[in-house]
């Protein structure tokens, strides 16, 4: 007999639970997905497509939907770490299939070779190239993200990706990179390595 009561009791318990959860489901539906916004904030906005998505935001959306974090070479490990931090996932090393981390570069058009075809203008995702049809084009260095999307379309190959020139104001205290240096014994080499890290 008691087990019949038991069945009833538990069923009532479950029924109540179901009611509450049903109520909760409706009362507190999850709104929008602000996480995409946050992810997009972290991505470098180079808009290069190396991740396999057309731009950073689509990749942000993909990450939010569960794609791997390690597909953005321009962002490099720092971005991966910050994403992992944000999403509470494991930070993996950069996926070599998508490219390697590189120094920041900027596009420079060899102006005397430019034939003014405007293909690079169409290729540039951030409108960083100035010029009109059949006129010499130039890259606005400050706006260029270094995505190198303009390089391939150029029919005469006159666009170079050059490392950003270093300026004293933006120098990162890399003593190692100071051109002239006189290291004669191992101890000093080690020392300056320490300084470099």
């Amino acid at each position: 007999m008691s087990w019949i009561i038991g069945i009833i009791a538990l069923s009532v318990l479950a029924l109540v639970a179901g009611l509450i959860l049903g109520f909760a489901a409706i009362r507190f539906r999850v709104e929008g997905d602000p996480i995409v916004e946050q992810i997009d904030q972290i991505l470098p906005q180079t808009q290069c497509g190396q991740c396999g998505y057309p731009g950073c935001r689509p990749y942000a959306q993909a990450i939010a939907d569960g794609d791997e974090l390690n597909k953005c070479p321009p962002g490099g490990q720092a971005t991966i770490d910050r994403l992992a931090d944000l999403l509470g996932r494991e930070a993996k090393p950069l996926d070599a299939a998508h490219g390697a981390e590189d120094v920041k570069k900027v596009a420079v058009i060899r102006e005397d070779e430019c034939i003014g075809c405007t293909k690079c203008i169409q290729a540039c995702p951030v409108d960083a190239i100035m010029g009109a049809t059949r006129q010499m084009h130039t890259v606005i260095a400050d706006e260029c993200t270094g995505c190198d999307l303009c390089v391939e379309p150029c029919p005469v190959d006159c666009i170079d990706m050059l490392p950003l020139p270093s300026k004293p104001e933006r120098w990162t205290w890399n003593l190692e990179q100071i051109p002239v240096q006189n290291i004669t014994d191992a101890a000093t080499a080690q020392q300056s390595q320490g300084g470099e890290r």
């Binding site: 959860l21 909760a24 396999g52 299939a97 995702p125």
Partner: protein, 232 residues
């Protein structure tokens, strides 16, 4: 099809091992691995529950609305756990006593609800059953290895008390491998469980790392780059 089973096998036993990688179900994993017997017993119990719950969840997945999914899964799992508990109580009484509270606690082994959520609720039952089996096996393997480590260091034996699980005949399974005058008590105390588990995880990482190193020698396959802008 077969490759699906292959991935399931690989995932369960190694890549996505519930204990070593997902770090789920740690409590029983650490608590009952004082001896191989206990570990095996709980491993089997967990595996049974996993298979049962995976199959059931897979069968009912289409009738259950999203918002009460979790409670339904919990009920299903709890039912299986209780069944297993009753069965163990009836047939392996000694083990039932030894594992104590950790049998009912299989309910909260996140590995089980995790599999129900992540796999069984999206796949047909044969795969779900296989997934449950492999995950359970992976979990049980870790349990047994950890149990063996701890039992060996802490007691010098293996399969001590096997008769509780397998009946009187199994008394002879007990192997005294080493006779310590003073066994390393630490191994069977709580800290030993944590340390042992730490070393198991590190061991797996180390093996993976070596494999990765080997794999790296093979060339990287370039991924397709997307064109952000439309140019030709």
């Amino acid at each position: 099809m077969s490759s699906e089973y292959q991935t399931l096998t690989k995932n369960g036993l190694w890549e996505n091992n519930p204990a070593l990688v997902q770090l789920l179900g740690l409590c029983p994993l650490l608590a009952v691995t004082g001896t191989v017997t206990n570990a095996l017993g709980l491993g089997i119990a967990t595996m049974l529950v996993l298979i049962g719950s995976n199959v059931t969840v897979s069968l009912v997945r289409n009738f259950v609305p999203k918002e009460i999914r979790i409670p339904v899964f919990v009920i299903v799992i709890a039912t299986f756990v209780t069944l297993v508990e009753l069965l163990m109580n009836a047939f392996t009484y000694g083990l039932y006593m030894a594992l104590g509270i950790f049998i009912p606690l299989i309910v909260t082994n996140c590995a089980i609800i995790g599999r129900a959520e992540a796999y069984a609720s999206k796949n047909p039952w044969p795969q779900a059953a296989f997934d449950g089996f492999m995950m359970g096996l992976g979990f049980a393997c870790v349990l047994v290895v950890l149990g063996a480590m701890r039992e060996l260091l802490g007691q010098g034996t293996l399969f001590d008390g096997a008769e509780m699980l397998l009946g009187e005949w199994a008394r002879d399974l007990r192997i005294q491998l080493v006779q310590f005058d003073y066994p390393l008590l630490l191994a069977i105390l709580p800290p030993g469980a944590f340390l042992g588990m730490g070393f198991l995880i590190a061991g797996k990482n180390w093996l993976d790392g070596r494999r990765l190193q080997k794999a790296q020698q093979s060339p990287v396959v370039k991924a397709q780059r997307a064109r952000v802008t439309t140019v030709n």
